[in-house]
Subunit: 174 residues, 2 copies
Amino acid sequence: MEVIEAIQTRRSIRKYKKGMIPDEDLKKILTAAQLAPSAGNKQPWRFVVVREPEKINELAKIANNQMWIADASVVIAALAMDKGSPEIYPKWVERDVMIAVEHMVLAAWSLGYGSCWVGAFSEEKVKEFLGIPENMTVIVLLPIGIPDHKPEARPRKPLSEIFSSEKYGQTLKI
Amino acid sequence: MEVIEAIQTRRSIRKYKKGMIPDEDLKKILTAAQLAPSAGNKQPWRFVVVREPEKINELAKIANNQMWIADASVVIAALAMDKGSPEIYPKWVERDVMIAVEHMVLAAWSLGYGSCWVGAFSEEKVKEFLGIPENMTVIVLLPIGIPDHKPEARPRKPLSEIFSSEKYGQTLKI
């Protein structure tokens, strides 16, 4: 699927058909994160890939009982490395994780899978459950699965509201 | 261009041929940001699109004299809204801007344009120069232009280093 089409048609998917994502496809999705740009190429991201159904069910509970997550084929916990680490740029560590996750979202969508950024969860419980070091930050849980609904596009602010031309607040004519 | 191909072939482009980006293409790139997902669909991003060559030249100076920026066709300043605003989620405001910017990076690349995340600049000077309100954060300057070099891929950490399976630190076999 073309980039522009993927961006236009992508939806946050919160209902999945039961089924596996073949390793071949999953590897493409993970590689999309691996190839994301990052400040100074520090690649300050780590991920835990959860595929065992009982574990996914537990993550759904930890994510404020959003039980639709339990039907995902995979849940990926996206982590930012320790802000005190000399290997990273503190200002960019959380930001860069965002880029890598959206690469997975778009790659998954282009292969026919749906996903949804999940930010509501107990970070402490996710860390305990997945054995994540205390000094890392859990940025997001990303369930990925086979879409079982087709949500309408959510409303978007018009280009004229979010874009200015040459100076902030000056109308962009395009 | 396909999503996976765009992600695989994308490079940070720091050398541009002189030339304009037609409005039709620029609009597709801006729309890619508009359509990005955000926490609670708050769309906490704003952008200033700079196309006047003298202004772009000035931004290159403000960006620690990275004068290669001066050859870009467009520079987009990406802003996060006021963290104190009731319209946004403070935790997500900067993060969400990252998603929107990477949508532009990939959309531009798919249309044949190169770009580069630029994080090194005097935020104060960018704000003053573009008339950006004090309470917003300048996340990044994104020059976009016609590529005039083909950089090699930067090294990436192996999947086995960045991905764990089921528990943090447990080897992912894929």
